[in-house]
Symmetry: C2
């Protein structure tokens, strides 16, 4: 298998009400079976999931973070690790000042799986191609420094490849069996987008057609509290 | 930027003492600046980091897991989440039965950064090309179902891209600034290797030359306990 990953150049600055699917279909030269990875920031801007804050107060986003949190797990200095209404555990409930206008913060989309479905449906309507869509965001991790991109919403691409019952190369049943391919695709896409470069959309070409199909991050990937050893 | 990711086909079954660098250099058609991702399993086999267990007892790996752990964080049924001597927090201390002979388990390499340096130096000697090398392994995550591949050892590739002080696309300083590129590269490589397919090495071509350089997973990427909110 061979994958190609490239950023989509030439998108305009995104504002409230922007037709993301139309803009991506116009700029990207998409083919059927491509996976389109869209950063959360432009989805939030297009959906106007924004809040105003005092640009002169570095703590002014904190009441917004509290409002966007259903439960706080940890707190240190300016950092809050909390659970959002979607079930994501992340820093500052996903509230973020980078790449938005001064005096504003971006919130997470209301329903990122729905956002992904809208973009996929719009691309099908404009470009006549069936693609998978991933909305990605940048999360930290316990125990490891640095951040990586993960999938917060999907459409037309499976969240997890379930290999239970599959034999390994030596014919024995695999132990590690549920691969979070949508998170791995989001991480791969981040490599060509970069945080500073202003390339908010990437295309991954060459994925296994078996990965395309129905699924939801919120329903299938978020670990229910009863399964979770760290909640 | 455009990345290409492909698996390296045609490697033989790896046993103790195998010359991984020579085998990869012979099979892969490498170019300078490529990043070579090697799964931990074949590194452990080549280094004979293995232990014998009773093949008829599904719990027989547990004493090995205890021995490979410096601290147990959580325990449930057959699963132990522990910290290894390297500082990795993962399931079963990285001890794994898949893709190894019956009656054996693979352990993590003694010093995965050193393993990566050996492979990089060997590829330079055999093929005359300077590449980055990542040893990858498959870890679970709190809060999210499924597993993704991460970097457990590196040579010639930076663990983290430090963007502190870099302006974002709107000219303001970036908030999220340390991107774990070696983990994102490991995740991207997993997509072409698969758990069941027996493709233990992948090549990533087209990375930013600025990503190549010195670094260590153990020293630079493992979060020190004082910084860690979940230890």
């Amino acid at each position: 298998m061979r994958l190609e990953i490239f950023g989509v150049e030439g998108l305009p600055e995104i504002g409230a009400g922007a037709d993301l699917a139309g803009l991506i279909a116009g700029a990207a030269g998409l083919a059927g079976g491509d996976v389109v990875v869209v950063t959360q920031k432009i989805v939030s801007k297009a959906e106007n999931a924004m809040a105003a804050v005092d640009p002169n107060d570095p703590r002014s986003h904190q009441p917004v973070v509290e409002r966007e949190s259903v439960r706080v797990l940890r707190r240190r200095d300016n950092l809050i690790i909390s659970e959002t209404k979607h079930g994501f555990v992340c820093a500052n409930a996903g509230v973020d000042r980078s790449n938005v206008a001064s005096g504003m913060v971006a919130l997470l989309p209301d329903d990122p799986d729905r956002s992904a479905r809208r973009i996929r449906d719009g691309i099908r309507a404009r470009a006549g191609v069936e693609v998978g869509v991933i909305i990605s965001d940048t999360f930290g991790r316990p125990w490891r420094r640095g951040v990586t991109d993960v999938a917060i919403g999907i459409a037309g691409i499976r969240p997890i490849l379930d290999l239970r019952g599959t034999p390994d190369a030596s014919g024995r049943e695999l132990q590690v069996t549920e691969v979070a391919i949508s998170d791995e695709l989001a991480a791969a896409a981040e490599l060509v987008m970069g945080k500073a470069a202003g390339v908010p959309v990437a295309v991954i070409r060459g994925v296994d057609p078996a990965w395309l199909g129905p699924g939801s991050i919120q329903q299938d990937l978020i670990r229910p509290p009863t399964e979770d050893l760290f909640r």
